[in-house]
Amino acid sequence: MAADSSKVASMQEAIREVVRDGDTVAIEGFTHLICFAAGHEIIRQRKRDLTLARMTPDVIYDQMIGAGVASKLIFSWLGNPGVGSLHAIRRRIERADPEPLEIEEYSHFGMVGRYVAGASRLPFFPLRSYYESDLPKANPRIVPIDSPFSDDTVYAVPPLNPNVAIVHVQRADARGDAHIWGVLGCQKEAAFSAERVIVVCEELVGESVIRSDPNRTVIPGLVVDAVVVEPKGCHPSYAQGYYDRDNRFYVEWDAIGRDPQRLESWLKEWVHGTATHAEYVDKMGDRWDGLLPPEAWSEPVNYGRYE
């Protein structure tokens, strides 16, 4: 793709072109900026045999794994934050119901380190964790190594280079240069570590908006393959300054995910029953009213003008 051409695509096109059966896919975002819209489109297109990577699989991976798109999960914290369990995933791990799910488990810093090593083209990432924990016994890819410079021992985790990273951002230009603010998670590390990257934005802006505040550019278009404009694409996750986290949905998901029949009908109604995320957003109706907080703007900064 030429550097100056637009990468803007619809979600359907982007998922169809970029995500292939059997891929390792990372939809990152720590509580914030989790791209549910992309997860739903992967379900609609009935992708299969994916390895899904995420620090916190969250409700989106419970939905995707419940829908049968994945055969393996790489993660560091498996829960519905503040609520409890991800029941569809638990059924597959505890009872192979309806089929087994392979898992590869780290800690948060281990997962972050894996993306950092992957993004930096390093053979491993060293960290001071895992000592005396049973995690290295459970996962042989967490290995102690001696420092070449002292008698220190640290643990090494392998690089993670997903085939695809899907990162949601607040705003991007048509080349994929993306601004993020608020909780950053490891959006940047995931994007730089992946072979192919889809940036999904709340707002498409002109290049001049991006260039007016380059420190806020977390992901450069250089590593981006497709740009999808998908307002409210994170629901029930959130986009700082655009809409709030729908905590009520996370609480409601507990009962839905617990019951395979309810999960199935939820997917039928809200994912397969909507052709696009815009339809899903409309279908939510006045539920949005409670999710739009008042504004709180930052003070602008002066970069200086040089002619």
Binding site: S76, W77, S129, R245
Partner: protein, 260 residues
């Protein structure tokens, strides 16, 4: 007037969770940088910031330093933690420069199982490959347990959670009494449950140091899966004051989500 007095008397009766939150909050006196967990630890830290430790800096693993949450966050990455915070960094920076470098004075952890050394399990009940119950896993807990200067543990106590041998060591405590000197952190120093408060001997063994009001040593023994040691000078936890309770009930958790 009489009605107000009755109201105050009722308010002084704390729930078990409120007692735990208040006991943990008081332990934060003199601490500066605190790694906060969601749920009751979040209440304890925010209560401490308004009572015993006004300069406490709240750190959330989502990358937030110096948070001033205006509402009770359901998740560790709630937008209210960002607005008005001193700094929001990437998770790499949070774990590497704040936690691993030793800037965290105290961190809160919890678990489904704990042993007498303060080792915690949040991974599985049963066998790892064939779990009876699949729990959330480490999250940041493993590296927090190793690198935070001190760890406070806040969890409910039953014979099923206070066990002789935990099924999986997710987060190391005092191991079997010897924590390597090169670890930045000193490990767990306090455990607060619904029954009392525990500290650790020089050998890293947990002992009962304070009983909550109305709780007996027999009750503690009945809810501990090993022969627990008891301090020679056993204290009674001071019950929550009306001021502490009204902060929890009116300001921090008006719906009682995490404190009833």
């Amino acid at each position: 007037m009489a009605e107000a007095l009755t109201e105050r008397a009722a308010a002084a009766k704390a729930t078990t969770t409120e007692t735990m939150i208040v006991a943990a909050a008081r332990q934060l006196e003199g601490e500066r940088v605190c790694f906060v967990g969601i749920g009751s630890p979040n209440l304890a830290c925010n209560l401490a910031k308004r009572t015993v430790s006004l300069d406490l800096e709240l750190v959330y693993e989502a990358g937030v330093f110096g948070a001033v949450p205006a509402r009770l966050p359901l998740s560790i990455g709630d937008p209210t933690l960002v607005t008005g915070a001193a700094s929001v960094s990437s998770m790499f920076e949070l774990f590497a420069y704040y936690l691993q470098a030793g800037l965290i004075d105290v961190a809160f952890l919890s678990g489904s199982q704990i042993d007498k050394w303060g080792n915690l399990n949040t991974t599985v009940i049963g066998d790892y490959a064939n779990p009876k119950v699949r729990l959330p896993g480490s999250g940041g807990a493993c590296e927090i347990a190793i690198n935070a200067r001190k760890v406070f543990i806040l969890m409910p106590q039953t014979k099923r959670s206070f066990v002789e041998k935990i099924d999986f060591v997710t987060s190391p405590g005092h191991l079997a009494g010897k924590r390597p000197a090169e670890w930045a952190g000193a490990g767990p120093t306090i455990v607060v449950t619904g029954l009392g408060m525990y500290e650790f001997s020089d050998d890293g063994v947990m002992y009962l140091s304070s009983l909550h009001a109305g709780v007996t040593v027999e009750q503690v023994r009945g809810n501990t899966g090993w022969d627990i040691e008891v301090a020679s000078e056993l204290r009674e936890t001071h019950p929550p004051t009306a001021a502490e309770l009204s902060l929890i009930r009116e300001t921090l958790d008006p719906d009682g989500t995490y404190s009833r």
